[in-house]
């Protein structure tokens, strides 16, 4: 278990802005008091607020003090009065040094504003470049902050762990974790589910969770009204209770005070509302509206041991550590592995066992986010390099001015402060604009994306995001303004004064810096372009995976049968037969089918299977198969390819012999090269079915996943599923039939909610929307990076040309060919671009491991991608080089020498 840590941003500020000798003691003090506050108040939030306040004051006070010491050297004494901004006693009197400093600062700022107004183009380009960098970085940071950094709003959220995240477990495993692991204070579990709510207004499908006993203890939040579930209520037959979300209580029950105790109809059966969660409570999945007890029945083998669908969460005991939990869970992991080596493979046994709940909820997204954050930092660095280049060039042309001022007595500190004030102005303008851009980006994100990302609804432009923007802007000042300022002051006075009047070109040192920055930008752009190229290829491949069925001209929707009337199997089956009949009669409909699991989605149901007549040998791993229950006609409607035998048919009725159609993966797993037709498999430990057909694998678990072994059963013979997906194949545009199909189904029974009506093509697209989003954002960053760096290359060369106009004029007048001039300018860019490409390659190679996790069937060092990207970059660079080179060639020697 990790001890609570002080908030990250203030910590970074302290580390950056305090002097080394005081950094250790001050942050040490703050840390010590923070820990004391945490253990006193029990909650981390008060301690964090205190820490934040103290850190800001410390950084502010100490920085002013330092600045005053630097600024006031030679001026009035600074040793007067208290520091002012925060001391309890308040300032004893404003020091004369402070006033001088403020006056000078204001003068510098006014001077800077005048300078920029004289060169509005320069100021605008620099501020916009910075705004792009700061804005993009801040926008991505806001997502990282909301999703990864900000802790979940549960008491001591850092002590809530998910056990084997990504591996749903059986109820029996949950029980043995509860019994055997002493590192956990409370253990519970949940299983997301959908419920049909009837009565009280129109039928609706709501999402929620079935939760094991102790769930609300683990989370640490109890219902605001009423009570949590008692352990008794997890026994079958005693589970007729429910807890509602605050939003549900307000939205559907109009905040009626008597809802607790009232009976509602969930999936057709009555449940008494026993509690309502608090208004501010944000469940693990923000869509959850209802919680019901998960029933536990150790006598039902399939429910107790055979089905793995429960996600186990636990609250650590006060003194326990994650290592202790790992050690206690290890034997259970070994047992799981021995029982089912398919689902719990060696990697499972080797991997860590407990993950902090937040990390588990966000899952692999946090990695993607950090990668995007890295990418956007590159964009920021390129922006800084560009502005540094601009300032460097400008500092060069101002070196005469600065030299003159120094020679008449200005101190170096005075001039540095003035240049810094100018940089600060740029940073304020760029940072302000950047915040605007970030706000726009965050607004767009909140409008369109949040549900696609776990915890995405917490993304906001808040204090820490703004703090980050300010810190980033300050950092950019340090990167782009300080360095040129110091350089601008170094010039030998005599040389600078002498060069007044004619411009014979710069010292070689300046050019070298320009070229290094150019190479740096090219290298960073190449890394980003490579990443974008890989993602685009990966995304393209993903979109062109053969899903195993015909995706076009399909309309799908979900119907959820409420209990009551539909608890009767025959009623359920005839309901779906009616759907087929009614929908099939709509003009333009070619075929209708129904199934329990929609392809391309994870979260399918799987169960143990055995081949009848061939009991598993000792030590042989047990095999799991995904179960799909379908109405006859599904195969033809989906357009799956039949390899052997037949599809399910209308004759596979309730009373007919039980049959199954299996996919190739299951055929290979169970029968190897033997002919599976006519053989029998056993599922759930009690359901025997004869194999009558083999179909090609359908990507049932997701486009990027290999199909699991799958058994398709006839719904009339296994009709336990109360919610099913109806698929309709149409002649024309499937979207056009949406309305008549939904109308036909709801005419059958208005109490059956019909949800998630979509065309299969849209559904397929949304199933890979994460990858498409990552690709789009990454590509956007790469494009901005390319644009910025090409502007940089262009700027440097343009400057070189304008600076060498005189020299070129002389040489052309003396008879040098224009071709020679052009070649020379181009040659000047070849080395830096080449160096940039080589360094960029190296960096892309080094970062390929990072990218690999985002890629689908693309090698992170894919030579085609790397080649294409390099070629594109070189072409873009060529375009950026040719324009200034042509200008050099068109220098008119007469006008140039005249002037």
């Amino acid at each position: 278990m990790n001890p609570p840590r002080p908030p990250i941003l203030p910590r970074i500020l302290l580390a950056l802005l305090l002097r080394r000798e005081e950094r250790e003691v001050i942050s040490g003090d703050l840390e010590e008091e923070f820990q004391a506050l945490v253990s006193q108040s029990g909650g981390g939030s008060a301690a964090r607020a205190w820490y934040r306040r103290q850190a800001w004051k410390a950084v502010g006070g100490r920085t002013v003090e330092r600045f005053r010491r630097v600024a006031g050297s030679g001026g009035a004494s600074t040793e007067r009065g208290d520091p002012g901004p925060s001391g309890v006693a308040g300032p004893d009197g404003a020091g004369g040094g402070t006033m001088t400093m403020v006056r000078e600062l204001l003068r510098d700022v006014r001077f800077g504003v005048r300078t920029f107004r004289r060169q509005p183009g320069f100021a605008a380009v620099a501020a916009l470049t910075l705004a792009l960098g700061v804005g993009a970085t801040t926008a991505v940071f806001s997502i990282v902050d909301g999703v990864v950094l900000r802790p979940l709003a549960y008491p001591h959220a850092d002590r809530i762990m998910q056990v084997w995240s990504g591996h749903p477990l059986s109820k029996s495993t949950l029980a043995s974790i509860r019994d055997r692991v002493s590192a956990f204070e409370t253990v519970s579990g949940y299983q997301g589910a959908r419920f049909a709510l009837t009565g009280e207004g129109p039928a609706a499908e709501i999402v929620g969770a079935a939760v094991a006993p102790g769930y609300f203890d683990v989370i640490g939040v109890r219902p605001a009204r009423g009570r949590a579930f008692s352990p008794e209520e997890s026994k079958p037959g005693h589970d007729g209770v429910a807890i509602l979300s605050h939003a549900m209580w307000v939205g559907r029950f109009g905040s009626a005070p008597d809802v607790v105790g009232r009976s509602i109809r969930v999936d057709g059966s009555a449940r008494t509302v026993v509690g309502i969660m608090p208004a501010g409570y944000r469940s693990l999945d923000p869509a959850w509206q209802i919680w019901v007890p998960q029933t536990v029945d150790p006598t039902n083998f399939s429910d107790w041991k055979g089905t793995a669908g429960t996600r186990v969460i636990a609250r650590m005991a006060p003194e326990a550590t994650a290592e202790q939990a790992d050690a206690e869970l290890a034997p259970i992991a070994q047992e799981l592995h021995e029982a089912n080596a398919d689902a719990f493979d060696d990697a499972f046994v080797a991997a860590g066992t407990v993950t902090p709940l937040q990390q588990a909820t966000v899952g692999s997204f946090s990695r993607t986010l950090w990668i995007l954050f890295g990418a956007v930092s590159f964009v920021l660095l390129i922006a800084c390099a560009n502005v540094a280049n601009l300032l460097l060039a400008r500092g060069e042309s101002r070196s005469q001015e600065l030299a003159v001022r120094r020679s008449i007595g200005a101190t170096a500190g005075r001039l540095i402060r003035q240049l810094l004030a100018e940089g600060m102005l740029l940073a304020v303008a760029g940072g302000g604009l950047g915040c605007g851009l970030a706000w726009l980006a965050i607004w767009t994100f909140r409008e369109h994306v949040p549900t696609a990302l776990p915890l995405g609804d917490r993304v906001a432009l808040n204090g820490s995001v703004l703090g980050f923007a300010v810190a980033t802007s300050l950092l950019t000042v340090a990167l782009f303004a300080l360095w040129p300022a110091v350089r601008a002051l170094r010039p030998d006075l005599r040389e600078a004064l002498q060069s007044a009047g004619h411009r014979g070109g710069r010292r070689s040192g300046e050019r070298r810096v320009n070229r290094i920055l150019m190479a740096f930008e090219v290298a960073l752009s190449l890394v980003l372009l490579t990443g974008a190229g890989l993602l685009i290829k990966s995304s393209w491949l993903l979109q062109h995976v053969d899903p195993g069925f015909r995706v076009d001209h399909l309309l799908t929707m979900r119907v959820s049968l409420p209990g009551g009337r539909y608890e009767d199997e025959a009623t359920r089956v005839s309901y779906f037969r009616d759907i087929e009949e009614r929908v099939g009669a709509i003009p333009g409909v070619v075929g209708v089918g129904s199934m329990s699991h929609l392809p391309l989605t994870s979260g399918y149901m799987s169960t143990l299977f055995t081949v009848v007549g061939r009991p598993p040998r000792e030590g042989e791993a047990r095999s799991y198969a995904m179960v799909q229950s379908a109405m006859p006609g599904l195969g033809e409607t989906l357009g799956t390819r039949l390899l052997h035998g037949r599809f399910l048919e209308a004759s596979d009725r309730e009373d007919a012999p039980r049959v199954t159609v299996i996919n190739r993966a299951l055929a290979t797993r169970a029968f190897g090269n033997d002919d599976p037709l006519g053989k029998k498999i056993e599922l759930f430990g009690w359901f025997e079915a004869t194999v009558v057909g083999v179909v090609k694998d359908v990507r049932d678990a997701g486009l990027d996943r290999v199909a699991p072994p799958e058994a398709i059963l006839a719904y009339p013979q296994l009709s336990g599923f109360s919610s099913m997906y109806v698929v309709v194949r149409t002649k024309g545009d499937p979207g056009a039939l949406r309305q008549p199909v939904v109308a036909a189904i709801s005419e059958l029974d208005r109490d059956v909610p019909i949800t998630r009506v979509t065309t299969m093509e849209d559904f397929l697209r949304s199933s890979i929307s994460d990858s498409r989003l990552t690709t789009a954002v990454f590509t956007l960053f790469a494009a901005v990076a390319l644009l910025l760096s090409m502007v940089g290359v262009y700027g440097v060369l343009s400057y070189t040309v304008s600076e060498r106009t005189y020299e070129i004029g002389v040489r052309v007048a003396m008879g040098a060919g224009r071709g020679t001039v052009v070649r020379e300018i181009i040659r000047e860019s070849v080395a830096p671009v080449g160096l940039g490409v080589v360094v960029g390659w190296g960096a892309a190679m080094a970062l390929s491991r990072v990218m690999a996790s985002l890629l689908f069937e693309v090698h992170p060092r894919d030579p085609v991608v790397l080649g294409t990207v390099t070629l594109g970059l070189v072409l873009a660079a060529a375009a950026a080089v040719v324009i200034p080179a042509r200008r050099a060639a068109s220098v008119d020697p007469v006008r140039c020498l005249d002037g």
């Binding site: 001050i26 003090d29 703050l30 410390a58 003090e65 309890v88």
Partner: protein, 114 residues
């Protein structure tokens, strides 16, 4: 003797006098907060401590690091003779100036302090 002590400087020196030789930043801050009831900024405290050290009124040495400080070391402060003299002078100035005007401060009008 140098210039007179500022208000917060006096407060800090008095805290050191109370704490004896075992004073560090945390305990000084806590003592001031406990006695005055006002939240004190660590940054302001260190600014003042540094200034007092520069004037030779106090001295410090680096102490041990502890886990609750994230492994960072602390500074231990000590009141020097000079500091004691400065405090004494402040006190003398204060008491000689207050003599005869206590009534004007209307101390009795305030609620009694615990």
């Amino acid at each position: 003797m140098g210039r007179a002590l500022g208000g917060f400087e006096q407060t800090v020196l008095l805290a050191l006098l109370q704490l004896g030789d075992d004073a560090d930043g945390v305990s000084i801050r806590r003592r001031i907060e406990a006695r005055t009831g006002m939240e004190t900024s660590t940054g302001a405290l260190y600014t003042t401590l540094e200034r007092l050290a520069k004037r030779g009124l106090i001295s410090f040495e680096l102490g041990d690091s502890t886990p609750e400080r994230g492994g960072r070391r602390k500074r231990r402060y000590r009141l020097e003779k000079e500091g004691l003299l400065a405090l004494r002078e402040s006190f003398t100035v204060f008491t000689s100036m207050i003599r005869g005007v206590e009534a004007l401060l209307d101390l009795d009008g305030e609620p009694e302090r615990p």
